[in-house]
Symmetry: C2
Subunit: 70 residues, 2 copies
DNA sequence: ATAAAATGGGTATTATATGCCGTGGACTGG
DNA sequence: CCAGTCCACGGCATATAATACCCATTTTAT
């Protein structure tokens, strides 16, 4: 329930760093707020699937890569 | 952008039917409203990842199975 | 043909996702 | 020491997701 957001955020952070993005660069490229990306990575927000897709597309990975199993 | 919700809904509907659930059964088992499940399947709502997980768990599939590629 | 089940689709209210502003801390290079 | 980058974190306003009703239509089964 709660760990879902956390694990999603961990996935995002790992992939974002592996692609050489800063939070702010990613946020800017995705047209979203820098503080919001931080909250997503910290697992503080329950984001919508459209944001999920936007982040995946911007970061250059599959949406499935961000979604934890189980 | 927009087709994302539609394709998600199509995936949900396909898997739900393959598992022998009606919208109403699924909604009841997941503790949500029947009409909401219908709207999700028709791609009318931009659901959050917690709803995504709840639906996947209830229907007995992986969250990744509901999320379209690309 | 008729009843029952399943779904579509509307509307109104409440909860919350998201954007926008700021502050401060850790770290780096000049 | 100072300027710049990156990030954690918080408050607040607003757009929108979540929820709970309702009724009409289609589909299925008898």
């Amino acid at each position: 329930m709660c760990h879902i957001k956390k694990r999603f955020g961990q996935n995002l952070r790992t992939i974002r760093k592996s692609k050489g993005f800063s939070q702010e660069h990613l946020a800017y490229a995705a047209g979203m707020d820098r503080s919001y990306v931080g909250k997503v990575e910290r697992g503080e927000v329950n984001l919508t699937i459209e944001k999920l897709y936007l982040l995946a597309k911007t970061i250059g990975c599959s949406p499935k890569d961000l979604v934890p199993e189980d």
